[in-house]
Amino acid sequence: MAKIAYYPGCALNERSSHLDRSARDATVKLGFELDELDTWTCCGAVPPVSEERVMNLVAPSRILKDVRDSGRDILITICDFCYNTLKRTNFSIKSDEIIRKRVNAFLADDTPERDYLEKDDSPWEDYAGEVKVIHLMEYLRDELGYDKITESLKRSLKGLKIAPYYGCVMLRPQNEIQLDDPENPAIIEDFITALDAQPVKYPYRTECCGSYLSVSSPDASTRLCYRILTSARNNGADAIVVSCPLCFYNLDSRQKAISEAYPDFTPLPIFYFTQLLSVALGVEFGRQGFEKHYVDVTPVLDKIASSTGKGDSE
């Protein structure tokens, strides 16, 4: 079975381990294996909001260089923040000579160069952005092909109305990420269609969930998530599908606060895309980590089970 280098990141190692496990299960069913890097560090997580130009690129660059040094040229990630961080770091290294030299000065094994500010003519250009950073969903779309998923379906998701949620960093900034049109994307809709489910159109699919405001101003995030969830629900969604652990946290766990703040609110189940994929490919419900969800997903699972006659008893 083909093995592809895989960077899980911190969330998938702990809080979102169900995203990690469902991804591993699903990819095996599709004929390839996510091969976790032997050693890996934090990706840096917040370079998108950082003013620093070089230091924040060192950790992700080291990860990318390790992949290259192990003789591989593709790295799969799933968490949208890891994807954004690694891909943008690679973009900077490829397109900006000064950044390339400064970062490589830090990565050098022999004499790590610390006072990089004076060293624009640094001779280190070892890692030049050779690794291609790919989101798992991007891999499914472009390398494997969504057709292959449809051919491998074991459970029918027919009749299930799923609302895609993109969040912010999966698609932006477009010139660096180049995954899809950030104003009018289709990658998750097409994924839902490949699972034989029905994508729901609603206007809030690319609006902000509050992201890190969840920590500093939870009320703001509550208000934003309420609008997203209500709009999806009003447009007929049975559930929302996401790929980002932070989006998942805000949209799922925050429904407790939303229910308290908005009496008219009806909860809506949230899935990782890998969970729906894994379920559709026949992996047991019990392996999906649904117990980690705040909102009960049983109504959706019941629909799947009744439409195929294939519940978790299989």
């Binding site: 049109d181 104003e183 009018n184 206007p203 709009s231 009003n234």
Partner: protein, 651 residues
């Protein structure tokens, strides 16, 4: 030895401030061949020209050099002056010491030396200049106008009224263009069709205008005064020579086709005329939509046509015409709503563009002038107009201002208020631009008296929520985000050149600019001409413009054509390439480099000749010619060699 006179111009202080003109004149006097030199404050003024004329006679000069501004400005002025004094015009040369010297330098000493070198260079050229005669070229006094919108109609009428024949070619089955789609026109609010249709009828009936609608340009060759044009007359599947336009076929046709003219807000049959006032008022069958062409069954139109005008066997016809001048007036298109992803990508039914709103306002439109939104026919109570939808957005869409939107959006909001008194229009804008006679007053009145709310800011997102169309924007004057749950949204989409413009421009070998609009020869002084002689441009094909400007430009282009036709023959500049037939080896490299198709191979002699009527004297072939057989008149290899030496300070 020639006796050359050098006249150094101060150009006020334009030259004299940076260049010591007196020294240039003194140094020129010392140059070999120079018999006279003098400076003067304004050489192009009447006393300046008189000085040149008098000295030619008094000093018995054989040639003159005017050291002044660029030859593009005053070469013809001084050549005319020289001719009056009895010189051959090609014995008058310009030494450009302004644009190429005083304007671009600050060091007086160095600039003066450079000016002296420039004069010395031109002296070397002038020594060897031959006297030339212009090349006479005959003219076919018949014009071709491409595009039957208001620009093409106006140009055709102006040329035809002056007594010359015109062929007016239009791609659609009727002339009229976008102006026929409009409701009322700013700032006077006169009905667009009411002022247009008389002109359409006049063009259709004019004895000097041959209308060729439903036709396209296939190919073209020739040169100014003598073009040969191949025109494809598309099969209408209706014999227009007998069709009386009764319209019965259109009533009976069972096919349903979205009307392009009505911006897809209405449907017509597969056999149709685009609008009732069409000229000519003859239908065409759209082959892709016709049930008979698709399935082999139907022919209902044929059955109901009493005079037997339907002809399913018709084929495209090709006709060749000879014309002397060509006006391109192919008009504009607007950026498709589907291209604007953040504004619903064309999927929100109640987001329409300005032209669609014109159809909703038009008395002859699909709603007979009542404002009803497309999704459910409801009369919108709140309506949002979004300006600069795709314009002034260099990062994502078009960098330029589409120019007409500020005015037509204000007009839209005003006409909407006149029809729906309790309705509320909002206009999102970046700036309001009202350059035009009566425009600012029109806008002021709309803003102060009509209850239109102007919001200064861009719209971020438009989406459908239930039966509302929600608009998210920013009011940058209050710094607040705005959300409007509107009933209808009208986008002032960017004006873009028609799809077909690029292809046509390539066929005609005329230039387009960075945004695809036709390029004028000079942005200020030659706005209605292409750089290639014999080609003229008019209307929005050259850039976004409103009706008055379009009409003015069309009349301007027509006037240029009339002026061309008023001559017995054309005079071609003789300072072009020529071939020493004994030297030419027939390698034909000149043919491959010529941008004007002016070089042709003579099979019999085995050499490459110059078509003097086509040659623009660019010099490409002269430079490319490996054996020196091709030379440019008055820019021979020996002239260039001595000019280079002189420019470097050598003797």
């Amino acid at each position: 030895m020639k006796r050359i006179g050098v006249f150094v111009c101060h150009c006020g202080i334009n030259i004299a401030e940076t260049v010591d003109v007196k020294r240039v004149a003194e140094e020129a006097k010392e140059m070999e061949g120079v018999a006279y030199a003098q400076d003067y404050i304004y050489m192009c003024s009447e006393p300046g020209q008189t000085l040149v004329r008098e000295k030619i006679v008094e000093e018995k000069l054989d040639a003159v050099i005017i050291a002044a501004c660029s030859p593009t400005l005053h070469e013809s002025t001084f050549r005319a002056a020289a001719e009056e004094a009895g010189l051959n015009p090609w014995q008058c040369e310009i030494a450009n010491i302004r644009e190429q010297c005083s304007w671009v330098h600050t060091d007086r000493e160095k600039a003066t030396n450079k000016a002296i070198h420039i004069v010395a260079t031109i002296v070397q050229k002038t020594k060897l200049n031959e006297s030339l005669e212009p090349i006479p070229v005959s003219i076919t006094k018949k014009a071709l106008v491409i595009g039957g919108g208001i620009a093409g109609i106006q140009a055709a009428l102006d040329i035809a009224d002056s007594g010359y024949k015109v062929i007016l070619v239009e791609k659609e089955s009727s002339i009229g263009g976008h102006m026929a789609q409009l409701s009322e026109t700013f700032p006077t609010l006169d009905c667009s069709q009411c002022i247009l249709t008389p002109k359409m009828v006049a063009a259709g009936k004019h004895p000097n205008i041959e209308l060729m609608t439903y036709s396209e340009i296939e190919g073209i060759h020739g040169y100014v005064g003598n073009f040969k044009v191949l025109i494809r007359r598309k099969a209408a599947f209706v014999d227009w020579s007998i069709c009386n336009g009764c319209g019965l076929c259109m009533e009976k046709c069972p096919a349903k086709v979205s009307s392009v003219f009505d911006r897809e807000l209405a449907k017509h049959g597969a056999i149709y005329v685009p609008f009732p006032q069409a000229v000519p008022n003859k239908p065409v069958i759209e082959q892709d939509s016709c049930i008979y062409f698709k399935s082999g069954q139907c022919r209902l139109c044929e059955k109901v046509c009493e005079i037997g005008a339907i002809d399913f066997e018709q084929n495209d016809q090709f006709v060749e015409e000879e014309v002397g001048a060509i006006i391109t007036a192919t008009g504009f298109e607007t950026l498709p709503v589907a291209d604007l992803a953040e504004y619903g990508a064309g999927d929100v039914p109640d987001v329409i563009d300005g032209l669609a709103f014109e159809r909703l306002l038009s008395a002859s439109g699909p709603t007979v002038g009542e404002v009803k939104r497309p999704s459910d026919g409801m009369v919108p109570k709140e309506i949002v107009f979004v300006q600069c939808a795709g314009s002034r957005d260099p990062e994502r869409y078009k960098p330029y201002c589409s120019k007409i939107c500020c005015m037509y959006t204000t007009k839209h909001a005003l006409l909407y208020k006149h029809r729906v008194h309790d309705g509320q229009p909002y206009i999102f804008y970046i700036d309001i631009r009202t350059g035009g006679k009566g425009y600012e007053e029109f806008y002021q009145n709309a803003e102060e008296e009509e209850g239109i709310i102007y919001l200064r800011g861009k719209v971020a997102k438009i989406f459908r929520d239930g039966d509302k169309t929600v608009v998210w924007g920013t009011d940058t004057l209050t710094g607040r985000n705005i959300e409007i749950a509107a009933d209808l949204v009208v986008l002032a989409t960017a004006v873009i050149p028609k799809d077909s413009t690029a292809e046509l421009a390539q066929k005609l070998r005329i230039q387009t600019g960075p945004n695809g609009f036709l390029a004028e020869a000079h942005p200020k002084l030659r706005p209605v001409e292409s750089i290639n002689s014999g080609f003229f441009i008019a209307g929005a094909a050259q850039g976004p413009k409103d009706i008055p400007e379009t009409v003015a430009q069309a009349s301007g282009a027509a006037c240029k054509v009339i002026s061309l036709f008023s001559r017995d023959h054309l005079e071609q500049d003789p300072a072009i390439a020529w071939v020493d037939e004994d030297l030419c080896g027939g390698c034909r490299i000149c043919i491959s480099v010529c941008p004007y198709d002016a070089r042709e191979y003579d099979e019999e002699q085995g050499i490459a000749l110059v078509n003097e009527a086509l040659c623009e004297g660019c010099g490409s072939c002269v430079a490319a010619c490996a054996c020196g057989a091709t030379q440019q008149r008055n820019l021979s290899d020996s002239q260039i060699k001595s000019m280079v030496t002189a420019s470097l300070g050598g003797e």
